[in-house]
Amino acid sequence: MADSDTTDFETRESSKSGVAKKILSFLLTFVFMFVLWIVLSGKFDPLLISLGILSSFLVAWFFHDLIFPDLEFRYISIFFRFFAYAAWLIKEIIKANFHLMYLVFHPRMKELIDPQIIVFETSLKQELAITTMANSITLTPGTVTVTADSDGGFRVHAIDRASAEGLPGKMFEKVAKLFGEDI
Amino acid sequence: MTGFFLGAGLYLCFLMMFSLYRAIFGPKVLDRLIGVNAIGSKTVVLLLIIGLIYGRVDMFIDIALAYAFLNFIAVLAASRYFHKRKGLYEESTFE
């Protein structure tokens, strides 16, 4: 893992736009870390602020390609579209959680549930999109992601037949639209 | 309002008993892990409620944040560790 990272790093460093990307990701990491420092410390002494600047500079210097590995301009629009997606996801979570509550408190629960593992393929390519899809599947009640591989294949444990049939369905369309992939 | 917080905290403690049952008598190791995880997620809320009752949220919020991080790391580390347990496998095939 370390080897592939360093070679990737060197190839990106050689190009000219790679340097700009590096500086941008450095600045983003620095701002992110410093805001986190302010929120967590809550004090505004000159000594503490300068210590915060020093430590977030060091973190940003060493780990600038850890949080934002490859920046592209379309990530800005993805960032704003993500809020709309999160609102939809929370609505979906609450709606489906009541279904799970109904299952849990039902006296004859073992006749209602029908656990099964289903396999399906999606056409997602980016790692971030696959991660978002897997976490969304886990958060939506009735389904838990078992494995998700880099080709976009998913294995999902579903608790009853109704939630198993609802996959991939609407959530996949939403994720694909969020990350600009073709369905 | 303090009375309501006290009731909510006591009710959370009562709910922890259910998870504690799963953590102690769970038939498999991973069941215990689920119980521990559920107790941890309730403890974060309980710490915040204790802080609000005593009027020291500024102190308890840091403990709650650290507890949330630590709970996540503990579950990750424990489940990674049990990847390689052979005993789990035999236990499962006998059933």
Binding site: V39, N97 | M1, A38, K42, V44, D58, S79
Partner: protein, 108 residues
């Protein structure tokens, strides 16, 4: 304001109850993960949101900072809870545990 706080807290306690009962009642390891991983996530999110709202009653810079920290907890739980659930279910799959199903029960 207080009514909204009480509503959020009761909403969260309701889901926590469902999670605790579900952990006891579900038949096998995989289906226990469903209440543990998700009802608890929604419960913690709604309860911490209610406490953050209550904290904003006496509005000042200090309480605003505390509420931001509570929102940070919500954000972190929203990211980490699915990951922890996925990690546990992955350990179960690699250990070779079979999942409880109706057909298996009928054969026995």
């Amino acid at each position: 304001m207080n009514i909204l706080v009480i509503f959020f807290l009761l909403f969260g306690l309701f889901f926590f109850t469902g999670g605790a009962v579900g952990i006891i009642r579900m038949p096998d390891f995989y289906s226990r993960l469903h209440p543990a991983g998700k009802l608890d996530t929604l419960g913690i999110m709604s309860m911490v949101l209610g406490l953050a709202l209550y904290n904003l009653n006496h509005f000042s810079a200090g309480t605003l900072l505390l509420s931001i920290k509570m929102i940070l907890i919500i954000f972190f739980v929203f990211l980490s809870s699915p990951t922890a659930t996925h990690s546990i279910v992955d350990a179960g799959i690699r250990a070779g545990l079979r999942h409880w199903s109706k057909e298996q029960r009928r054969v026995e």
